[in-house]
């Protein structure tokens, strides 16, 4: 009898409460669209981004040894002999080798970034990635530079291989960068060989698609896709990626073009923020 009473209470719904909460959600969505970037919801998000930075940094910092151990274990074959001293020495040397290897790789990455920055001929700021995407749908990263370093909303972010994304939110100490692989991202692009214009959009599988390309000049696999500079958000000529597949049915208005970024976005650790003097602000739609 007692069990029955508990279950009845737990299962009892209150449709009015549900309706009230749903209406409140819709009002919040409307307010978000209506208010400016200085509105209370935008300010709240910026505050939460700033407040979450220590946790993002701590998470990345704590995960680094586990990644390192995983890499180390996968590369070590265990010697079962009795020479414990030699084994200990071996481990020590391996650790030193790993440290040197890490320093070498970091050096190479930074050298590539510096070369890339010189080629861009724009003022740049280097930044470390301190937070990875916290959601499967909204692909963004957190970097350790903010308005104190001169960053502003709309700045383009690149890595050695090409375009990474755009700053969409900035605090004095950090900034959130929407990746080009985010479904809400859009980049005005052109195919290097044919000069055909289009829009590169992200998809949920982490890939990129080139839309609105003229059917008369379809790209072919291997074509390089660059930013076109149209829209004023991204500077012209930054590599976005290479065409990996082209499909076109007679009923399609535009060919379906898949692109692979040259940047391994899941693994990059440093990025460059391009500081164009008159960078356009991030558009509500998330791109150009």
């Amino acid at each position: 009898m007692k069990r029955l009473e508990i279950d009845t209470r737990r299962g009892a719904g209150r449709p009015l409460v549900l309706a009230g909460l749903l209406v409140a959600s819709l009002i919040i969505t409307t307010v978000w669209y209506r208010e400016g970037t200085g509105g209370p919801l935008h300010t709240l998000r910026t505050g939460l981004t700033a407040a979450s930075q220590p946790f993002a940094v701590a998470g990345t910092w704590l995960a680094t040894p586990f990644r390192g151990v995983g890499n180390w274990l996968s590369g070590v074959s265990v010697d079962q002999s009795d020479y414990r001293a030699l084994k200990a020495q071996n481990l020590d040397l391996k650790q030193r080798l790993a440290d040197l290897e890490e320093a070498k790789l970091e050096n190479e990455r930074i050298r590539q970034l510096v070369d890339f920055a010189e080629a861009q001929d724009l003022p740049t700021i280097g930044a470390h990635i301190i937070g990875r995407p916290t959601d499967s749908r909204q692909l963004s990263i957190l970097i350790d530079r903010g308005t104190n370093s001169g960053l502003k909303v709309g700045d383009a972010v690149v890595a050695a291989g090409g375009l990474v994304g755009q700053v969409v939110e900035v605090t004095p100490w950090n900034a959130r960068v929407r990746l080009i692989t985010d479904p809400e991202s859009g980049v005005a692009a052109l195919v290097q060989r044919t000069r055909a214009n289009g829009i590169v959009k992200g998809d949920l599988s982490g890939g990129l698609e080139l839309d609105f390309v003229d059917k008369k000049t379809p790209p072919v696999v291997g074509d390089v896709v660059l930013t076109s500079g149209l829209g004023g958000v991204y500077p012209k000529g930054i590599v976005i990626g290479e065409v990996t597949a082209v499909a076109s049915l007679s009923s399609d208005l535009y060919p379906v073009v898949s692109i692979a970024s040259r940047v391994d976005i899941a693994r990059i650790e440093e990025v460059l923020v391009l500081q164009a003097e008159t960078t356009a602000a991030a558009l509500p739609g998330g791109g150009e």
């Binding site: 279950d7 009845t8 209470r9 737990r10 299962g11 009892a12 719904g13 209150r14 409460v17 549900l18 909460l21 749903l22 409140a24 959600s25 819709l26 919040i28 969505t29 409307t30 307010v31 978000w32 669209y33 919801l41 709240l44 998000r45 939460l48 979450s52 946790f55 993002a56 701590a58 998470g59 990345t60 704590l62 995960a63 586990f66 937070g131 990875r132 995407p133 916290t134 959601d135 499967s136 749908r137 909204q138 963004s140 969409v168 939110e169 959130r176 929407r178 985010d182 479904p183 809400e184 998809d203 949920l204 599988s205 982490g206 899941a266 739609g285 998330g286």
Partner: protein, 170 residues
């Protein structure tokens, strides 16, 4: 006041875990959602009203953590929290099967509803592509996580119940 503290603490912990831990344990791009797990667990142990309210607050926090429009996830998670609470009282499953079934169904409903809401707001994504790359893998991931987390989470969210086994939890 005492009834609000455990869910509030669990939501706060979920937000911290979402920022610090979730990105580190993403599998093939699928990031687990700890806020969703707290909302569904609360709905299971406290019913639809608590699930709906927790869903609204948790969804709003999740929206604020992201880069997209604020509000849609609050809408979806409110609905899911409420429905999960209703499901818990009307399902015949018990023991570990109850949370696993409810989380699997709730995860799929959340992802599908969220995709529809985003599509209405103009954020177009390929449904069939995301079904196999995101929705089903997310449901599977959350189902695995709830097996590990549910017994502990349910104890935190409903401390007045003397819960000693998975069967009692259901």
């Amino acid at each position: 006041m005492n009834k609000i503290l455990p869910p509030a603490g669990a939501l706060l912990a979920a937000v911290v875990l979402q920022v610090a831990l979730a990105p580190q344990i993403a599998v093939f791009g699928v990031v687990p959602n700890f806020i969703f797990l707290v909302v569904v667990t609360l709905a299971l142990v406290e019913g639809p009203v608590a699930g709906g309210v927790c869903g609204f607050v948790g969804g709003l926090l999740f929206d604020l953590l992201g880069t997209s429009v604020v509000g849609p996830y609050a809408l979806v998670l409110t609905l899911v929290g409420y429905v999960a609470g209703m499901l818990s009282a009307s399902m015949f499953a018990e023991g570990w099967l109850l949370p696993v079934t409810v989380v699997a169904i709730a995860s799929l409903i959340t992802e599908i509803t969220y995709a529809i809401v985003l599509a209405v707001l103009g954020v177009a994504t390929s449904f069939w592509s995301s079904l196999f790359t995101l929705m089903l893998p997310s449901a599977l991931y959350h189902t695995v996580l709830v097996v590990l987390a549910y017994p502990w989470l349910a104890r935190v969210l409903r401390p007045e119940r003397q819960i000693k086994s998975f069967r009692r939890l259901a």
